[in-house]
């Protein structure tokens, strides 16, 4: 288990909330609990992998409302819904919106713990993904405007002399720029650079 991960619990029923905390702590996870959705939203998000165990039916802002709010606020976090009533339309809605699991009380402890584990793994991956994208963008930002122009044309599949013609420069300078792009972006091959451009969303001009 990750020792740095953090599990959040939102349930208005205090004894149940505490029992969830207890259970989650017993497997060595850090846990924080809230009685309402608003309390949870008010807390600053730590930069560690985490997940949210959320009661569907809450006074005030409901569980589904919170899920929507988080998606909109770019505070994505895997959510495990728990509910007292098996309510199919609600389950479908939650799962569509990306919930990890939808557990009906009373659930087996392992079900919850597995779901948490799964959610944490997902969050870690998502985080790693986000971290990689960020590095790439960082590298891209280090390119000069001319290098970016060259990169865009390279990944578009143009040859050096075509690029030079396009840019109205010499083939030799294109070559130099191309060399810089490959180095700065850390791309070992043209194929790798193309994948990066794709990830960065650099449009490929139509040939």
């Amino acid at each position: 288990m990750d020792t740095d991960a953090m599990v959040f619990v939102v349930d208005d029923d205090a004894p149940l909330r505490e029992s969830l905390q207890n259970l989650i702590r017993s497997v060595g996870l850090r846990v924080e609990a809230f009685a309402s959705a608003q309390e949870f939203l008010d807390r600053p998000r730590p930069e560690v992998p985490g997940c949210l165990v959320l009661d569907v039916r809450l006074p005030g802002l409901s569980g589904l409302d919170l899920q929507q709010r988080m998606a909109e606020g770019n505070r994505d976090m895997p959510i495990i819904f728990i509910t007292g009533h098996g309510d199919i339309p609600m389950t479908v809605q939650a799962m569509k919106a990306g919930a990890v699991a939808f557990l009906t009380k009373p659930f087996r402890d392992q079900e919850l713990l597995d779901a948490i584990q799964q959610a944490l793994v997902r969050d870690r991956k998502a985080r790693e993904q986000r971290a990689k994208s960020e590095e790439l963008r960082c590298r891209y930002r280090s390119l000069t405007p001319r290098e970016r122009e060259v990169m865009a044309l390279v990944v578009a599949g143009l040859l050096n002399k075509q690029i030079a013609a396009e840019l109205g420069t010499s083939e030799a300078s294109v070559k130099v720029h191309r060399q810089h792009v490959m180095e700065k972006m850390g791309a070992g091959s043209l194929a790798a650079l193309v994948r990066m451009a794709d990830r960065l969303g650099i449009p490929t001009p139509p040939s």
Binding site: D13, P15, L16, E18, S19, L20, N22, L23, R25, S26, V27, R57, P59, G84, H85, K105, P106, F107, R108, D109
Partner: protein
């Protein structure tokens, strides 16, 4: 005068009252003066004494005090009498004048502050002492000892300066109210005398000092005259100085008032003293003048004066010739009008009394309890008892001898009992007069008490009631006859011949039958008789003719001319001729229609009541005061299983369970003795005992009937066993219905309830799982805490289940002190899931000062749950879903609970039907919720009603009264 008494002081003065002296109260008996029988006033004697004193004052002023003492002795018939005057230093009293047995003590006296005279002055009222030496031992040498001493104060210029007193040295002489009156009258004179003496003494001193001055003497003589005038002006006695020739030289105000002239008219000589005397009294005047001429004074005599207005005034006159003048004299005149009037009144009332006694044949009497001596015996009493007043009072024994021998013992006993028990008595007895006639007496007696509460005398009346007794006897006899005569008060006498033909018919009979005399005469009475009665009548008449009977009585009917029937009572006899042969019938007829109608009405009424009693479904019974059943109707069989024949004659307790019998007997006994009713006699719930041994519920009403010594109780007894059973069944059904609706409500809540139970169950599972993991990780502290959480969650689940089970349980209603706010919270907890599921926001406003209410907790929960569920239901599908629950303590001692919602509200047309059973707006509702809720609240003494909420929605609210012991 006041400083002269220093000699002959044989009474030692003492500084203070010695130890052991009795209290003042114990030597006083003043109140007795008015309790003692007093002798009638002798105004003549009193007047003569006063006039004699007036003469003595004019004649020899220096001996006036001694004369006063002597007159007091004489008028009061005392043993000693005298005066006490305060010395000038006011330290003691001395005795300037004493008459009678104490004469040797003249000049003696008593200390101002420690003696009887001092007591009288201190209290400023007359006092009667008895054996004063018990308190004032220095009076012991003043012998003979005083049995009683009566002292009255006398005043000069409004100040008490001494006393005038009378002493009785013998036990038999007791002073009374008349003695007091006389002594006070003399006391007033003493005051005047004292003032006169003081004036004269002053004058004598002055004369001695200025003997030589002739002119001054005359002046002083004028001064004397002025002073004497002052004296006489102040006096109550009319004083007139006259000349033998008829001229009036001087007269005082009292005399002027007496005769109604003013001074000028008299003194000017225009009116002579002879003229103010009516002719009738001239002779008396002449006799007095002759007496004056012979002796210089005349004995006081009664006469009349003519007043200026012509009216007469009775007076007493005493006169003396003035020394040395020979022609002039002084007369003292006392107005006797008042005395004459009171004497007349007394005489009249005595006359009335005698006359009343004579007319009422009532005598009055008194006898001394101790000696049995008869002390009073009225004139009428002498006459009634046939004694001769000339022979004096009869002795008690002679009196008893007059009583009829048969009554003597009982009469004596009644008297003795009256004496012994000191009570009034009243009795009847007979006396036998010397001529042998017997008279009936009614006598009353009443004790007269002395100050120590012992009867000293009995006074009473005796009334000759012989006439009344005889009248009573006669009345009794005549009443016996009256029974017969009254029957014939409207008697019509007729004669019929031996064939029954009317020979003589009185007009009253004509009127009775509605025929004229002509129509009746000569007709046989048979024609007018009701056919059913004719035969009996004629049979009897035949027997009369045969001589078998002398007369007969018969009730029969006549048929009147108009066809109606009259009832008559007949007495028929036959008149015989000298040879004993029957001549004709003589018939007395009396109309008894009215009586017959009354009898019939009574019979019908009785019949009706009997029918009523016999056919009534309630048991009607009558018992006597021994509780024996005298009558009972047929209903007794259905109610108690006994036939009337079986139970009549038995005690009513046979119809009661064993354990109630004693209470009944006790209650009857108590009522008969004291009239006190232990329980109400109207519709009392009691237990009865059926013949088969079952106990039955009864409603009993009963009343006392009958009069006098015969006391009966009648009662109506209703078997209410069935009714009680039906009531119980109704209660049962209602309770079950309430339960059914409760369970139905719970059914609606199933989802909510499942959720409520799931919450703690989920917590149990979580904590238990955690516990296992903590154990595996060897973290004992966390494991322990987890286990404790499991326990807590388990309890929570148990509570929720208990709450639901209580609602679902079929429990008999049970009242307890209920916290309404807690109940509201409980119900909200039960319905929480339902509230959330419907997205309803609940706000509570629960007042802190809501007291505990005596109520059935489950039933109140049911009502609250019902209102809450209705509100949630109403809110589904509307915009803002809000619900408010409030509790509030009202001014009237009650609590108001309201559940309001923001739903669509009621259709106003149906608001009245909301509480009807089976009225529902829900697709699956029973329609019983509100009907039962209202019944529950009303059973708690409260109200449940619905109103519209503003701006929209509904309010359902109810009140529950606070218990008397409600605590906040």
């Amino acid at each position: 005068v006041t400083e002269s008494a220093t000699s002959n002081n044989d009474v030692p003065l003492e500084a203070s009252i010695p130890d052991g002296a009795v209290s003042l109260e114990s030597i006083l008996c003043t109140e007795e003066l008015h309790r003692r029988p007093w002798r009638p006033p002798d105004y003549g004697k009193e007047n003569r004494a006063l006039v004699a004193l007036a003469i003595a004052l004019a004649d020899s002023p220096r001996t006036i005090l001694q004369t006063l003492a002597e007159k007091a002795l004489e008028v009061l018939q005392a043993d000693s009498a005298g005066l006490s005057l305060l010395t000038k230093d006011e330290k003691r009293f001395y005795w300037p004048a004493i008459a009678g047995a104490w004469q040797p003590h003249l000049g003696g006296g008593t200390p101002r502050d420690f003696g009887p005279c001092g007591d009288v002055l201190d209290r400023n009222v007359p006092l009667l002492f008895t054996h004063w030496e018990r308190r004032y031992p220095y009076l012991c040498p003043a012998t003979p000892l005083a049995e009683e001493g009566l002292l009255v104060p006398f005043y000069v210029h409004g100040k008490a300066v001494g006393t005038i007193w009378a002493i009785a040295h013998h036990e038999h002489r007791k002073f009374d109210a008349e003695d007091l009156r006389l002594l006070e009258s003399l006391g007033r004179f003493a005051s005047a005398a004292y003032q006169a003496l003081a004036s004269i003494d002053d004058l004598t001193v002055q004369i001695a000092a200025r003997e030589k001055a002739e002119a001054a003497l005359r002046e002083l003589a004028n001064g004397l005259e002025a002073k004497v005038r002052r004296l006489v002006e102040a006096n109550i006695i009319g004083i007139v100085i006259w000349h033998l020739d008829g001229q009036i030289l001087e007269a005082n105000g009292a005399f002027l008032r007496l005769v109604g002239y003013d001074r000028g008219e008299l003194v000017s000589g225009r009116v002579s003293w002879r003229e103010v005397t009516p002719d009738k009294w001239r002779a008396a005047d002449e006799q007095a003048l002759a007496e004056l001429a012979a002796t210089g004074v005349c004995e006081p005599f009664e006469k009349e004066y003519v007043r200026k207005d012509g009216s007469r005034v009775p007076v007493l006159v005493g006169a003396a010739l003035l020394e040395g003048s020979g022609n002039e004299g002084v007369a003292f005149v006392l107005d006797l009008s008042e005395q004459k009037r009171s004497e007349e009144a007394l005489r009249r009332s005595e006359y009335y009394l005698v006359e009343a006694q004579r007319l009422s044949h009532t005598g009055s009497w008194a006898f001394n309890v101790a000696t049995r001596e008869i002390v009073h015996w009225s004139q009428e009493h002498f006459r009634i008892f046939g004694f001769d007043p000339e022979d004096g009072m009869p002795s008690f024994e002679t009196l008893m001898q007059r009583i009829h021998p048969d009554d003597r013992v009982s009469a004596a006993e009644v008297i003795e009992r009256g004496v012994r028990e000191k009570t009034d008595y009243e009795q009847d007895f007979r006396i036998v007069l010397p001529d042998g006639t017997m008279r009936y007496m009614h006598t009353t007696g009443r004790p007269v008490f002395n100050s120590s509460g012992d009867p000293v005398e009995f006074v009473g009346t005796v009334m000759d009631v012989t006439e009344r007794k005889l009248a009573e006897n006669a009345l009794r006899e005549s009443q016996e006859n009256l029974a017969w005569t009254e029957q014939f008060s409207l008697v019509m006498a007729t004669h019929t011949d031996l064939e029954g033909r009317w020979l003589k018919v009185p007009p009253t009979l004509c009127k009775l039958l509605g025929y004229t005399e002509e129509e009746l005469l000569g007709r046989r009475f048979h024609e007018f008789i009701h056919p059913d009665d004719a035969e009996a009548d004629w049979n009897q008449c035949s027997r009369l003719i045969r001589g078998e009977i002398k007369s007969f009585d018969l009730e029969k009917r006549y048929r009147r001319k108009d066809g109606s029937i009259v009832w008559v009572y007949l007495n028929v006899s036959v008149v015989l001729d000298a040879s004993g042969a029957p001549v004709h019938f003589r018939t007395y007829i009396r109309d008894i229609t009215e009586r017959k109608q009354r009898e019939q009405a009574l019979r019908q009424s009785e019949e009706r009541y009997r029918t009523l009693a016999e056919t009534a479904t309630d048991v009607i019974l009558t018992i006597d005061q021994t509780s024996t059943i005298l009558f009972v109707n047929g209903a007794v069989e259905k109610a108690f299983g006994y036939t009337p024949a079986e139970i009549v004659g038995q005690k009513i307790t046979a119809l009661m369970p064993e354990r109630m019998r004693h209470r009944h007997e006790e209650a009857i006994r108590r009522y008969l003795e004291t009239g006190e009713k232990r329980i109400s006699w109207n519709a009392v719930s009691l237990l009865g005992l059926h013949k088969n041994g079952r106990e039955i519920n009864l409603d009993v009403s009963f009343a006392e009937v009958g009069t006098g010594d015969e006391r009966f109780f009648s009662g109506i007894v209703r078997d209410v066993t069935e009714r009680k059973r039906a009531e119980a069944a109704l209660h049962q059904a209602q309770a079950e219905l309430a339960h059914v609706t409760r369970v139905a409500t719970l059914g609606e809540l199933t989802a909510s309830i499942a959720h409520e139970i799931n919450q703690p169950l989920g917590a149990v599972v979580n904590n238990a799982s955690a516990c296992v993991r903590w154990l595996a990780a060897q973290n004992m502290e966390e494991a322990r805490q987890s286990a404790m959480r499991v326990v807590a969650d388990g309890h929570r689940a148990g509570e929720i289940i208990g709450r639901i089970r209580a609602l679902a349980k079929k429990a008999p209603p049970q009242k307890d002190w209920v916290d309404l706010n807690a109940t509201i919270r409980d119900v909200l907890a039960l319905a929480r899931s339902e509230v959330q599921r419907h997205g309803v926001t609940v706000e509570t406003h629960l007042s802190d000062d809501v007291p505990l209410i005596l109520a059935d907790r489950i039933q109140v929960q049911q009502v609250l749950l019902n209102l809450l569920m209705n509100a949630i239901e109403a809110l589904s599908g509307v915009g803002p879903r809000e619900l408010w629950v409030s509790s509030e303590r009202m001014a009237a001692p009650e609590v108001l609970i309201a559940v309001r919602d923001s739903g669509p509200g009621f259709d106003p047309q149906h608001i009245d039907r909301l509480f009807d059973a089976f009225y529902t707006t829900k697709p699956h509702g029973l329609g019983l919720g509100l009907a039962i809720s209202r019944r529950i609240i009303e059973a708690h003494g409260g109200r449940l009603w619905a109103t519209a909420n503003t701006p929209h929605g509904a309010v359902l609210q109810f009140t529950v009264p606070m218990g008397r012991e409600g605590v906040a």
